[in-house]
Symmetry: D2
Subunit: 135 residues, 4 copies
């Protein structure tokens, strides 16, 4: 596992549902924020990856497991790590905390494709940045 990156996300009113808590699909969006922040923090803007390298990392598998609920206005801490890096695949792992209590865990697996959706290898320098802190 790579070094962890910590993001803070405040639950928006629009993200709640009539159960009075964050709708579960919201976690998937928070995972996305988590990995985008991790990449930016390592000098690897996902925006530049798309714009300059012509690479996209579409999600091919994802999930979340919740042991608690986040409420409107809660400031949730998202902890993101790179779990595995293959030649054409990357796996991120996530945890969502509130006040030191873990509410959710999750993961996403991404393919690597070019603008024509052809499977592509990650450039070595991208792999190196993602792998930071891995054994």
């Amino acid at each position: 596992m790579s070094d962890v990156h910590v993001s803070r996300v405040r639950v928006r009113y629009a993200e709640t549902d009539q159960m009075g808590v964050l709708h579960h699909a919201g976690w998937v969006v928070y995972w996305e924020i988590g990995r985008t922040d991790l990449m930016r923090a390592r000098g690897l803007s996902y925006r530049k990856l798309e714009d300059e390298l012509g690479l996209m990392l579409p999600v091919v598998d994802f999930g979340a497991r919740m042991t608690g609920s986040a409420a409107y206005d809660d400031e949730v801490e998202i902890r993101t790590r790179v779990g595995e890096i293959g030649r054409v695949k990357v796996r991120f792992e996530y945890e969502g905390y509130l006040d030191g209590r873990r509410l959710a865990t999750g993961y996403s697996v991404h393919g690597v494709v070019n603008r024509d959706w052809k499977i592509t290898r990650l450039p070595a320098e991208v792999t190196a940045l993602l792998a930071k802190g891995m054994d």
Copy 2:
């Protein structure tokens, strides 16, 4: 005003918020469904407009006014009309009904641009289809 087109949309759980009703931004998405359905019904698929004619109709102005709330699982009726068609602009108007009672009204104004976001004129055949029923 053009002929009206009627769409039916069922309020999704994910679209509710903790007030227990459809979040107001949901109406904007319903307006989008309304105009897409109107266009399709007139043989003018918005998808084809983008894919085949290379035209996009970005929203430049929109609004909604609510006199009632839609709840989860309600099947809302969206009534859509073309309000005005200019050379480089189209205006749609919307009403949202539930069981014969009007809950919301709204509008959207769209520019017409090509793939490079250059302002473009609507082809005459598109204008004709949109104008159907106008005086």
Copy 3:
């Protein structure tokens, strides 16, 4: 596994992202539509479950795996089954098809709680309806 229920969902413009396809979190919303439709088809409106029986089925675990992408305006077929029913837990399983080709599979696991978020048992008549078609 219970009998399958088939829903049809048209991909909304608002649900696409800049990759030009349905954003992956959209599948989670489609799973929600799938199970709501399955329940309604069996005479077990989820809305009534909340309103009349005071029960909620919060999602505690969910996931999706994609082998293809859905595009704007595609009419996707969602096939939903009840996978398992425990005393305080229900598991739904999902597939998303387009033109006979499977694009995605997924699942959701739900707890059963009352209005105070206390774990509760599913009433026998609810279990029976959900289990329809199970061996």
Copy 4:
């Protein structure tokens, strides 16, 4: 007009659409963040308003007008003001800027209701905080 409050919101990938920009409904969610932040900055948490005072501020009218597009990963500046305060109504006004260039303007009008959706008057101390900076 009251004093302006400035919020910063980074455009999420999930908020883009296939035009490659922030979907217009996203502005409505950004307005919501803007007024929530303004209220919090004035010691008037909207969460507490609902939880402790039992008041809700449902949107009854809203709109947005765009002169430019926000892209994925842009950090947009939302400037929020209280436009008018009546006895049972509040109007907020918004502007969205990117790098000093205005992309969008908008407004929202809110009713004031209690938990039973009965129209209610805003407490004087709430009005005073909202009015801060008004002539």
